[in-house]
């Protein structure tokens, strides 16, 4: 099919509306052949969907796009070419490339006529719906080339080394490459900016303490969806970030670009990364979420329903994992591991050269580093907010607030208005994110003393009493 325009295969009567809109917007001839849907309802499904059941395909990893072999790329391109060909030969086949794009459009607000199905963005449905969408898409691709081993690839833009849009999707930049998209702004060599997906953005997302923050609630989208997910969409459509452009930058055309699926495979992988990042990171147990049903066309053109609960166990049920195992994202490149710090008699922490070297490496890699202080005791009368200060033992709060010496704060909350002493009468532990303070700490003569100071008055700090300190690098 080399040399044949993908876009000339599109149904122009169905998509003529975009030509008018594009002309009005003055966005140029590049858009003239685009295919923004007027209506993206897709083929009429039967009244009752078939209940989805797991298949027995082998459990295989989705690989980083940067590690695909030539054979892997060829297989993926052949599958996407078959997907595009299906749109040409059987436009109403619900498995075809344009129908796949329309399925996403239908659940994302609809096309230009605003007719739409269930909205799955901006809520806790975002992650499970896209996981299911990618699963059926993956099955369809495999069926079209009769290869049950086909798995999608993921574009791990969170890894600084792989922030460039994957070469297989950009080169060659012609219709001979079924992974290429003429409406994509990002071209070979372009990198997603650090400001959108760098460690300062990703660390808090993977560190989000609950699913509502990470993946959303019934009413709101989570930090992953509202942040890097949307940003990479917009960037692919317009790397200048000064307007929203098809295909990836608009929800009704986004899934027409094959990079959509590599991008969303990474979003899906980051869900598993978040779950693995802490034993306290859990999916919702709300029955309304778990029982929520989605409907899709499967690889055999059956209209099937699948629940959120069905997609949570991706290896057993959906037959894929994320690999290779060593390919942890850069901001979690080092498995969480506590490194005990030696202390002198006055609780000053000594930083041996080996530790300082490791801390320098952590700074260079921008790894998330936590200083864990255990066995902390405060006077019984202590209450309120205290800053934890490094290497400024007698400073008042105002002198160090916002400086690298300011490691964070703790709150001692009285149980009642009559509780003079607060409730932390025993010892406790503090986890302080010192990622940004590391460069300064390394320069403090190889030693680190900790003090605490009330944030609200001019009292001077006092040495922090504790039993043990350790660095945890992730």
């Amino acid at each position: 099919m080399a040399g044949t325009s993908h876009h000339t295969r599109r149904s122009f009567l169905h998509y003529m509306a975009y030509f008018t809109a594009a002309s009005t917007m003055g966005v140029g001839s590049r858009r003239a052949w685009s295919a923004e849907p007027q209506n993206c309802a897709g083929p009429r499904p039967p009244a009752t969907p078939t209940r989805w059941t797991p298949d027995t395909n082998p459990i295989l990893p989705r690989l980083p796009a940067s590690t695909l072999s030539a054979a892997d790329v060829t297989k993926l391109r052949n599958a996407y070419q078959a997907l595009r060909d299906l749109t040409t030969t059987q436009p109403n086949d619900p498995r075809g490339w344009l129908q796949q794009g329309d399925k996403h459009c239908w659940n994302c607000g609809g096309g230009l006529d605003h007719q739409a199905g269930e909205e799955i963005h901006g809520s806790w449905l975002f992650l499970p719906w896209h996981r299911a969408f990618l699963y059926f898409h993956e099955r369809i691709l495999g069926a079209l080339i009769n290869d049950k081993s086909l798995r999608l690839a993921y574009w791990d833009w969170d890894n600084a080394a792989n922030r460039t849009i994957p070469a297989a999707w950009t080169t060659p930049n012609t219709n001979a490459n079924a992974l290429w998209d003429a409406n994509r702004s990002a071209v070979a060599g372009n990198q997603v900016p650090n400001s959108l997906v760098g460690p300062q953005i990703m660390n808090p997302i993977i560190g989000a303490s609950n699913f509502t923050q990470f993946g959303g609630s019934a009413a709101n989208g989570g930090n992953l969806e509202n942040g890097p997910h949307g940003a990479v969409h917009i960037w692919c459509g317009n790397t200048m970030l000064n307007s929203a452009q098809a295909d990836m930058g608009l929800l009704d055309t986004a899934a027409q670009d094959p990079i959509f699926f590599a991008h969303h495979a990474n979003i899906d992988r980051l869900w598993t990364v978040w779950l693995q990042a802490s034993t306290t990171h859990k999916n919702p147990t709300n029955a309304n979420w778990l029982r929520h049903r989605f409907t899709f066309w499967d690889e055999r053109k059956r209209w099937v329903s699948i629940t959120v609960a069905d997609v949570l166990n991706m290896s057993n049920n959906l037959r894929y994992t994320y690999g290779p195992a060593a390919a942890r994202p850069a901001f979690l490149a080092v498995a969480p591991k506590a490194l005990s710090l030696q202390m002198e008699a006055d609780k000053t922490i000594v930083l041996p050269e080996a530790v300082k070297n490791r801390m320098r490496a952590a700074v260079a890699d921008k790894n998330l580093t936590t200083l864990r202080v255990e066995g902390v005791t405060l006077p019984l009368q202590a209450k309120g907010i205290y800053r934890i200060i490094a290497n400024k033992p007698t400073a008042v709060a105002a002198e160090v607030a916002g400086t690298p010496n300011d490691l964070g704060y703790i709150a001692i909350v009285p149980r009642t208005s009559k509780d003079e002493g607060g409730h932390m009468h025993g010892s406790f532990s503090i986890d302080l994110d010192v990622t940004e303070q590391l460069p300064k700490l390394i320069q403090e003569n190889g030693k680190l003393s900790l003090s605490y100071v009330p944030i609200t008055d001019t009292a001077k700090g006092a040495p922090l009493q504790y039993q043990k300190a350790s660095l945890i690098e992730r």
Binding site: E36, L112, G122, P204, G221, G230, I234, A244, I385
Partner: protein, 156 residues
């Protein structure tokens, strides 16, 4: 200097809308922070209700604290940068008119340390991109600026 900003004072969690006929100018508002912010471990979430972006904006919105001169050129490495959120346009028509969402949110929890001790905050809302020239924009749209009905920070 071809830059304007406005401040809408808020009582409690209420803010007013102010429009400015200046292309590309961000909007600055002053908000109060929750009184229990420092005594709770709950997330700290910025809500911008009925936010409408300028016509043809990219959908990326940056938020800065106490930096009213912030604009699209201000570095995200700046210590006043609180984060960004995105509003993806559903269609080209919506992008041309300016994306509108009922409740745009930004989790401020990772930056809570910067906010401790403050009772109020000056927020500057910086949409990337946007134009005043789109014929698809509604006639009553403010030119080049985001609009909203309410901005507040909550600890849900």
């Amino acid at each position: 200097m071809h830059r304007w900003f406005i401040t809408s004072m808020m009582l409690g969690m209420l803010s007013n809308i102010w429009g400015m006929p200046v292309e590309g100018a961000p909007v600055t508002v002053q908000i109060t922070l929750p009184a229990d912010m420092e005594q709770t471990d709950r997330p700290l979430v910025l809500h911008i209700e009925n936010l409408q972006l300028p016509p043809q904006a990219s959908g990326i919105v940056r938020i800065f604290a106490d930096l009213p001169q912030a604009n699209a050129d201000t570095s995200t490495e700046d210590e006043h940068f609180l984060g960004y959120f995105t509003l993806l346009a559903k269609t080209s028509r919506e992008a041309a008119q300016g994306v509108q969402r009922h409740d745009a949110t930004l989790d401020l929890s990772p930056k809570k340390q910067l906010l401790v001790g403050k009772k109020a905050l000056t927020l500057t809302i910086v949409p990337l991109g946007g134009s005043t020239t789109s014929p698809a924009a509604p006639a009553d749209a403010t030119q080049g600026q985001p609009t909203f009905t309410r901005v507040y920070v909550a600890t849900p």
